[in-house]
Subunit: 385 residues, 2 copies
Amino acid sequence: MTVTAPKGFRAAGVPAGLKSTGARDVAVVVNDGPSAAAAAVFTSNRCKANPVLWSERAIADGTASAIVLNSGGANCYTGSFGFQTTHETAELAGELFGVSAVDVLVCSTGLIGTGDETFRQRVLEGTRAAAGALSGGGGQDAAEAIMTTDTVAKTAVREGAGYTIGAMAKGAGMLAPGLATMLVVITTDADVEPPALDGALRAATAATFDRLDSDGCMSTNDTVALLASGASGVTPEPGEFTRLLTDLCHDLAGQLQRDAEGASHDVDITTTGAASEAEALEVSRAVSRSNLFKAAIFGNDPNWGRVLAAAGTTNAAFDPHDLDVTINGVMVCKAGTPHEPAESVDLTPRATTVLIDLHAGDASATIRTNDLTHAYVHENSAYSS
Amino acid sequence: MTVTAPKGFRAAGVPAGLKSTGARDVAVVVNDGPSAAAAAVFTSNRCKANPVLWSERAIADGTASAIVLNSGGANCYTGSFGFQTTHETAELAGELFGVSAVDVLVCSTGLIGTGDETFRQRVLEGTRAAAGALSGGGGQDAAEAIMTTDTVAKTAVREGAGYTIGAMAKGAGMLAPGLATMLVVITTDADVEPPALDGALRAATAATFDRLDSDGCMSTNDTVALLASGASGVTPEPGEFTRLLTDLCHDLAGQLQRDAEGASHDVDITTTGAASEAEALEVSRAVSRSNLFKAAIFGNDPNWGRVLAAAGTTNAAFDPHDLDVTINGVMVCKAGTPHEPAESVDLTPRATTVLIDLHAGDASATIRTNDLTHAYVHENSAYSS
């Protein structure tokens, strides 16, 4: 059911020839109301794709009635022609659904620098075909249509007190902070005004997607959009809504992590005993960016020296001689010296935990990352060829 | 000849059992004067190895008469026992050479977290053996003794007006800024006072080793030491000395780049048209840290979208729609849109150049990096096992 689980939404996903495989590649999600409240967050990359440039403007008034998404091309660095493609897509969808073009968000994913006339025509034809296929059960087709190197469609649903939140997500590579590389559409039949929606979405993404850092690379197309139809007639308590939304985003972020390109380990790096949450994040992020550490995990090697070497590049408060490192429950380094033997760490499971204690305060935070594998190198050396 | 090319230096490299292969693993370089002027720069990592902690203190007075170096163990995060090992090494060398222990620098390289009683005894025995083997032709043996995953010994010599500069270097992995991971010993028979020596060394390393960023990982043991014997009797013009020293360091940095673990391309990333040199470095550095870009180069794929995506994570002044990218001489992106076809870029040579024009000023700078390969992952997943 995914994005069509909440009342008031229809969706579709169709093949439009953008993927060479002939698989579904254009998706549409429509909010039938009564409310058109919406919020969205976008990549913090300064090099933004054309659909991001468009959608940032379109969401500014806090309303959106439809989203058109395509895989098979990022429409990024395709110049004014590419921006015009996005604009025409929104205009067409507006006509088809009887709304203003500026109430249509557009998302694209795929290679940067591609988006010619053929691309444009296929996106437009796909939008028209998807509009004709819209249904209250179309969420799964839509979720499949936004997949790129994803091996599985990602969806999630949460039930609140009288309302529902549904979602679909794509993302497998270029997963990094300030949003992982991904497109996420979240729908709800709760009745929430745009400012409250925006606040809830920013709180939820800051605690979840912003802490997913698979490969340190930030995308140009990241978008997380939240549409509220109000069809349940229920206005949730704000704190409960944010908690439920955060839980759903945490679920999706985990799905992205477990499907990251080529990864053989999902590594949750928690820094504790930090002077502040920001410093805990800084240390966990630095370790998640260490190719040497990530390659060691791929080799089932609990190389804690590489953890400390990465921590040492940060400005977080700590005494370098009072650091503990625990890998999969085994404290391999205590107070900056070898402790339990590294041989006692079992790194064969895919789920891996690294705990760093700075002994400098009470704050903690986790970054979710992956290991660096032959398959990652292979997939990303061949992706565009 | 390497470090023994200048007058006034003897060196040796001997096997002491630290390397399981039985290869040379302890080196000693002695300055016979008449001057004992010296300077050194160290890793900016806050997690510093014991020999770095020692040598930082020992160099504080601007003099050093000898350096003891070992491969086969970094002596980092080995606690007070490890620091005592370094201290004993310097004391022993001081006795052997008739100088104070604080005129002896110590360098170690190898795995972090190892350095037990056996390690200590082998380093001490190796120091004694190397002292007995010192000769004016021992530079090559010393250069071999500091190799770890290096496939070749790195050395360089430059001739000034009446004086000579010689050097040896090791470094193949964990190459990153604030010094690449490496040990470098530079000797000269020029007569230069410690403050001038220190200024020349900092200028030379800032322009060379600090701009080598093979894999984004910063080491705990980096040391570049410069010893001046004064034996030529020549005091060079300061600018000429710094230029010659910089040229020698540039040569060594190139040798490190070409021997980086698993690399199949040496990638020089130049950012031009920047508002400042610092911003040019920031952009080049961001691109050099993109695993996706580096994997693409391994796959001979001139994926300029990944160059722009990395540039977009920086704060450098530029208009995202006025960026040019040229790879191996082919301008694949002009003013933020596709230009020459990517197929016309030949990425089969190992030497690769990426030129990014920000059109925002007159400054430029280059970061030297490598591609991300299967061999890198393999070597670094198995290194400690």
